[in-house]
């Protein structure tokens, strides 16, 4: 399941809904991305996440489907926020439940790596000297490339 939303999410509640008393689940892996105070040396007061409504949902749904085709999952979840976020705020939650821990780890890792290079979000950081658009990082492409086969 995927969700794109302005408001924060309740991690405990979301993970509890994901496992949902399913006794086939052996392991559940989650990743939460948070706004860091320091990115590339500047002190960040806040950031604004812009996205492409419509395409975002489409891309996240495709990524989620791909993960469910590649791994044996009982359930999966992607929640991505947009709008203005401050240091310490949640940005994204990715979680996968599987009968086996390796599948849960790999699928969760895959989802965040792919999301980072495919989901149409852009970060505008507010710094002391104004705002600047975060540049895409080569290491994210490298991270995604691992999952190509």
């Amino acid at each position: 399941m995927i969700r794109v939303q302005l408001e924060d999410f309740d991690l405990g509640l979301e993970l509890s809904k994901l496992s949902n008393g399913n006794h086939q689940i052996g392991g559940m892996v989650s990743f939460v991305g948070l706004v860091r105070d320091m990115a590339a040396g500047d002190s960040i007061s806040a950031m604004t996440l812009e996205h492409y409504p419509g395409m975002t949902e489409k891309q996240l749904t495709e990524i989620d489907q791909t993960a469910n085709e590649r791994w044996e999952l009982n359930a999966s979840l992607i929640i991505h926020r947009y709008g203005r976020l401050e240091p310490g705020d949640n940005i994204v939650l990715v979680a996968c439940a599987s009968p086996h821990r390796e599948s849960a780890f790999d699928a969760c890792h895959f989802l965040i790596d792919w999301l980072k290079t495919k989901a149409p979000f852009w970060k505008l950081e507010e710094t002391r000297d104004g705002g600047h658009w975060v540049e895409a990082q080569t290491k994210d492409d490298v991270a995604m490339a691992r999952w190509m086969k």
Partner: protein
């Protein structure tokens, strides 16, 4: 045809979207960009380095040779930085 701009492309273009009606000789994304940049200096500056720009047609990533047609939604944006 609807054009969408995001992030610094939106800022540089001074708008998030516009409706255009390019001539029928504009058959693919490359043709469309060539047609856009001929309109004014803001457009030509924005699209001066295509390596920094990604394109989606009808919300799917495409290459410059992807065909376009009236009614398409064509979006231009920098490499994504979410997550």
């Amino acid at each position: 045809m609807k054009l969408l701009y995001f992030a610094w492309i939106r800022v540089k273009m001074g708008t998030s979207n516009e409706s255009v009606d390019p001539p029928s000789t504009v058959e693919n994304v490359q043709n469309l960009i060539d047609w856009i940049v001929r309109r004014n200096s803001v457009s030509s500056e924005t699209f001066s380095d295509l390596t920094t720009i990604r394109v989606a047609v009808n919300q799917e990533y495409v290459g410059l040779d992807h065909p376009i047609k009236p009614g398409d939604e064509v979006a231009f944006f920098p490499p994504v930085t979410g997550g």
